[in-house]
């Protein structure tokens, strides 16, 4: 009975969603007005950054990204404080089965490649699809693989917090440097170089590399905290 009511309500909701969105008219005039052309134009002419999405995230809406990184930091802190226990049993995890030798040998082989791919993704964030958040997530999956494959693989929480804090402080420092040199917080004050060069876009790659380190450290800390949880 309850399920029938839920299905009926969802059908009504889905009908109105479909009426609203199923005929979007991709050739309409609204797709070519708005801020899109401003962003695309300024990204090439002023910032010399190939990836427009990166330019928006780091430069045009850099303050927004600072808030986003803060939200991630708050989530990690909240997780740590919710799961806080006086006695920590590090070393004997019960949630994990012992990994087979194929998994442990293979993950040792593939771990450096995952780290390298993550570093590539966030260093080239202003040229190709990708960036700090994506690269940091890839690095964290590498650490997740190692934590699953080796039961005694341990990461120092202190090292993680040092990396995280310095990346966050670096982000704010670059914002303040823009304040001193250009006039606004997070202004792009460095030379922008040539389009599609590795060192181009001024402050954008620097900030995205810092974001990559911060995200990688935070996600690894999250995974480590949850995996070391005993029920």
């Amino acid at each position: 009975m309850k399920k029938a009511i839920v299905i009926f309500l969802l059908a009504v909701f889905g009908f109105f969603l479909a009426v609203t969105f199923l005929d979007p008219d991709f050739e309409a005039e609204r797709n070519h007005n708005g801020v899109k052309n401003f962003y695309l134009d300024k990204t090439v002419s002023q910032l010399k950054t190939a990836n427009t999405v990166t330019a928006i995230v780091v430069n045009f809406r850099g303050f927004d990204t600072l808030g986003e990184v803060t939200v991630l930091f708050l989530a990690a802190t909240a997780l740590g404080s919710i799961l806080f226990k006086k006695r920590h049993h590090i070393g004997d995890r019960t949630v994990l089965m012992p990994a087979s030798s194929i998994v442990s040998a293979g993950s040792k082989l593939i771990f450096p490649a995952i780290i390298l791919l993550g570093a590539y993704v966030f260093i080239h964030g202003h040229l190709t699809p990708g960036g700090g958040f994506q690269g940091g997530t890839i690095i964290a999956t590498g650490f997740l693989l190692m934590l699953i494959a080796y039961r005694d693989f341990s990461i120092s929480h202190n090292v993680l917090s040092v990396i995280e804090s310095f990346a966050g402080i670096g982000f704010v420092t670059f914002g303040l440097l823009g304040f001193m040199n250009g006039g606004t917080f997070l202004q792009n004050f460095m030379g922008t170089g040539v389009l599609n060069d590795l060192i181009s876009g001024g402050v954008i790659p620097v900030i995205y590399i810092l974001v990559g380190f911060k995200v990688a450290a935070e996600l690894t800390g999250l995974i480590y905290t949850i995996l070391h949880e005993k029920g």
């Binding site: 309850k2 399920k3 839920v6 299905i7 969802l10 909701f13 889905g14 969603l17 479909a18 969105f21 199923l22 005929d23 979007p24 991709f26 050739e27 797709n31 070519h32 708005g34 801020v35 899109k36 052309n37 962003y39 695309l40 134009d41 990204t43 090439v44 190939a50 990836n51 427009t52 999405v53 928006i56 995230v57 809406r61 927004d64 990204t65 986003e68 939200v71 991630l72 708050l74 989530a75 990690a76 909240a78 997780l79 919710i82 799961l83 040229l127 190709t128 699809p129 960036g131 958040f133 389009l195 599609n196 999250l222 949850i226 949880e229 029920g231």
Partner: protein, 122 residues
Amino acid sequence: MDTTELIRIGVYGTSILLILIGLYAVLTKRSLIKIIIGLSIIDGGIHLLLIGIGYIKDGTAPIFSPGSENAVARMVDPVPQALVLTAIVIGFGVTAVALSLVIRLYRHHNTLKIDEIKNLKW
């Protein structure tokens, strides 16, 4: 059926379907883990919907890689993509905090079924 039609039915239909599946899971399932999975599915559907709204006919990615510097007129809207990047990170944070609350509840009540957790009823 041309590409635009395919994208219209495929992307928009799939995203609406994902939102509905996620809402169904949140409303009817009893297990807390399944409710969180439902929330994540709703998240995915909304992200797909936002990305789909930015599409234009014969669009390409808004990236000025060598060879496509002059394709500005065909580039899709980059603003929804930047917004979705933010939304994914926020969704991740929500999922992590929700899972930690579930771990905490499981530690207290030794069950994941919301029917058996009497403290939730008033």
